[in-house]
Amino acid sequence: MHPILTTVLQRLAMGVITLFFVSLIIFSAVEFLPGDFTEAILGQSATDETVAAFRAELGLDKPAYLRYIDWIGAVMQGDLGQSFSGRSASGVDRSRAVADLIGPRLHNTLFLALMTALVAVPLALFLGITTALWRGSFYDRSVNAVTLTTISMPEFLVAYLLILLLVSLNPVFPSLANIDADTPFWERVYKSALPALTLLLVIVAHMMRMTRAAIINLLASPYIEMARLKGLSPATVILRHALPNAWAPIANVVAFNLAYLVVGVVVVEVVFVYPGIGQLMVDSVSARDIPVVQACALIFAGTYILLNLIADIVSIVTNPRLLHPR
């Protein structure tokens, strides 16, 4: 078998195993709930029958491994269980399916993340490569100073500074991103502009700095110097010699930052009251609505693992040493 295929398959298997353990951890969240949590959910006045019915619904009367198999089987089929909220002490169950809660919000979050990534990735790569090429110039130093400042700020500071400048003082954008399923595309873009801009500033700074470091590292290697000394044009040096080796670090940088986007989106959604999955998760944490928290954590962790997996596979597939084995 081709060495690349073996390595990719190995990496995929590792990813599946990681995902399995992560799902195990997220599942066991219910195991650590304190004993009196049914009271917290159903209220102090819950009757014994209601409590017993609730515990049976959660399957607490079954052994843990059976419950895990049931749970993961249901998750695979898109059934994420029933939310804890909307239950009452009398046993009337107005809870909603977690999948219904998450569906539209997941769509909104993906829209925001995609919109940010489409602008952020090309911009950061451009800035990173140009600053690496003109290292030490005024351009390089000013871009570096700006990005270092945005990196050190918490996301909510960036967000509120943008609100202060672009909403309160100069009303350009709306401060609340109240979009729903019927919002037309361009209005949706307009209303999501500020959250996207906040994420953009944070992500581009990280991505640009990492790209710059990767390229500088590469340009310092002896074979690049050799190519220069041979008298090749700068364009040839970059395109023919540097770029094939740069794909791996660049893919890593991009994936790392898209994964970072997954986390950053939580805070930014809360600031702008953007109806996404991050805000849902924070609300559910306050309400201790465990099934929703579990589902959100599973989605976030799954995306994170998947992005890292893709980055690894890209760096394996573009690795010249593996592509042309001796």
Binding site: M153, P154, V266, V285, R288
Partner: protein, 303 residues
């Protein structure tokens, strides 16, 4: 000229070395301006945090009659949504936010550093289990994991400290194990083990002194990260709970003031203040860590 010169005195003084403080002072004098800026900022934060009750004009949870009061001589930065003095809460916030973050970082280093050293020395099944467990834990984004654990254990200060310390100890474990690996193979460690020293001795006396510089730098960076995570969680309303003053939740509580910036710019700036206090400390620590790294390892930005 009765005194005759004798080389004896000078020769006798050659052995006298500079004291530790002298050496630190000579290093400090050579520190760049950014490092000085960082150290001064950190010193001010520490003083404010330690002497908070003496500096703050009002109590941490003292309620005044007028909520959302404008900036005035009585209330330097106005009052918040239930009439507590923002300036006093900023000062108490330094104590709470920095104190909790510091405690968490120390706990993370005790857990992660200790296990990392053990894994590096005892490269057996224990190392394998710990390393794989850390791999899995690091596959979940820290903030998401923290949110999930907080929903289970509830948001108290202690669960916050323990959860974040555990999550961050995975990063400390990785670093400690990696740097300790290089030292474990040295002859002097072998010699210590051959003469029958126990695990604790080898960890503390043979390996730890040799990996201290990267760990100290990591402590600074880790502190920043923990500090930002706690601030973010408090901002989201699931971290440090009121009435304890804390910068993250102060941003959230005063956020509505920002809409009034066009009428009263100072009011609009009130929610920015605690966020800026967070950013300033992060930048200051980063500056000092950068300088320390260059100092101890000769690591610098390739120019």
């Amino acid at each position: 000229m009765t005194e005759t010169y004798s080389a004896k005195d000078e020769v006798g003084q050659v052995r006298q070395r500079r004291s530790r403080w002298d050496r630190i002072w000579t290093e400090l004098k050579k520190a760049p301006i950014t490092a000085w800026f960082g150290m001064i900022v950190i010193a001010i934060y520490v003083i404010v945090a330690v002497f908070a009750p003496f500096i703050a004009p009002y109590g941490e949870a003292e309620v005044h009659p007028l909520p959302f009061a404008p900036w005035s001589p009585e209330h330097l930065f106005g009052t918040d949504q239930i009439g507590r003095d923002v300036f006093s809460r900023l000062i108490y916030g330094a104590r709470n936010t920095i104190g909790i973050a510091f405690l968490t970082t120390i706990l993370a280093f005790l857990i992660g550093g200790g296990l990392g050293l053990v894994a590096a020395i005892n490269q057996s099944w224990l190392d394998q289990i710990l390393s794989r467990a850390v791999d899995v834990l690091m596959a979940i984004p820290a903030l998401i994991f923290a949110l999930m654990l907080l929903s289970i254990f509830g948001s108290s200060v202690w669960s916050l400290v323990v959860i974040i310390a555990l999550l961050d100890s995975t990063r400390v474990f990785r670093l400690t194990r990696a740097v300790a690996m290089n030292v474990v193979v040295m002859d002097f460690v072998e010699a210590a083990r051959l003469r029958g020293e126990g695990l604790g001795w080898v960890m503390r006396r043979e390996i730890l002194p040799n990996i201290l510089p990267p760990l100290v730098a990591e402590f600074g960076l880790r502190f920043c990260f923990v500090f930002l995570t706690i601030a973010a969680l408090s901002f989201l309303g699931v971290g440090i709970q009121p009435p304890t003053a804390d910068w993250g939740s102060m941003v959230r509580q005063n956020a509505s003031l920002i809409q009034f910036a066009q009428y009263d710019l100072k009011a609009g700036l009130t929610p920015i203040l605690p966020a800026a206090a967070i950013a300033l400390l992060t930048i200051a620590v980063n500056f000092v860590v950068d300088w320390f790294l260059i100092k101890t390892s000769g690591l610098r930005d390739e120019v």
